[in-house]
Symmetry: C2
Subunit: 207 residues, 2 copies
């Protein structure tokens, strides 16, 4: 989304959890990884900073203060929303995995959560309710303006949307109710940049 | 803090919960209320917008995107941090109240929480731990930069700080541990604008 925001084209490479060799050049084992000529950048935040410096037009951040506040929001998304989203979709995610990723995923996640994969989610309705409660701060904003960043989308929109797009790639759970302003915002993000996100592989239950 | 940020002086008027007559002219019963000549503005957010428009120098918001993100942060402070802070200090607060405010405070809060004031707080250590966990997003930012808003303080710093200053006015609970980056940030806010906040009435346990 950040690349599209800046009008940049990129070749995307499908990747699985256990394809660590494919990104070993980045010195770590997590996606996203961006390769630009001889440069390699990994981590969503670092990639956004790299893009902003390299291609200042179509800014993702209005300026230094907006960047600091977007960083707070990014950390909030990771620490508060990823949990309930993962709990809601974890079994769908597991079932959508390629066979060769399943053992790795089950072992690493069961170690992280200290319980069988089947028990991580708990009550899926409870997880979805937790998610909707946690979303209050952005919901209040989205009642007033179309995007988290105001009249136009920016990094904070994309980092939050990424969590929903990730869920949609593996699970038909819609997570939000249609009368939720966050639902309407997600629809707008799906339509942005020529429907880039809506046209990506994923469940269509929201449309 | 917003007034001081802009170098504006104001007369402050001590006020109690049941002094609703004193602010009846504002058409509602909550503080803060700002009176500027013939204008009356209430609510922290509305006051910040009023000041920003009236006195554009020393901006509280870098621009429109920073304003939208600060609004999200403001709602997050109110919906996520006020609860655990109140639970930690509620009995100290009650004991610090003027006699004429106590009945109102007990009745209204017991109705809101559905339990006796003495049971609202629960385990104060648990409430303080909840607060510190919830603060993760700003803590991650404060590891990198001195203020929530970056190299310089802005509205987002003041609205978060206000919650701590409110607690400090009525309770000796320090809420944060000295090795927490949020503690160091709070010290910086106490020192800002000639020590405005540190010189206000309140407990001194943090110094």
């Amino acid at each position: 989304m950040a690349l599209a925001h800046k009008g940049l084209e990129a070749e995307t490479i499908p990747w699985r959890f256990t394809d660590t060799e494919a990104i070993a050049f980045s010195g770590q084992d997590k996606v996203p990884v961006l390769v630009d000529g001889d440069s390699e950048v990994h981590d969503s935040w670092a990639i956004a900073q790299y893009l902003e410096k390299k291609v200042p037009a179509q800014p993702l951040f209005e300026g230094a203060q907006a960047r600091s506040l977007a960083f707070v929001l990014k950390t909030w998304v990771e620490s508060t929303l990823h949990g309930p989203i993962l709990r809601t979709v974890i079994l769908d995610l597991f079932n959508a995995l390629h066979e060769k990723d399943r053992e790795y995923f089950r072992e690493s996640r069961e170690k992280r959560f200290g319980k069988p994969l089947e028990e991580v989610g708990g009550d899926p309705k409870k997880a979805a309710a937790d998610l909707r409660t946690a979303l209050l701060p952005v919901r209040q904003q989205l009642v007033q303006e179309p995007y988290v960043c105001g009249q136009d989308p920016g990094f904070a929109d994309y980092i939050l949307f990424g969590a929903f797009q990730w869920a949609r790639a593996v699970s038909p759970q819609r997570l939000l109710e249609p009368d939720d302003p966050v639902y309407a915002w997600r629809e707008r993000l799906l339509d942005l940049h020529g429907g880039l996100a809506r046209n990506a592989k994923g469940y269509e239950v929201w449309s």
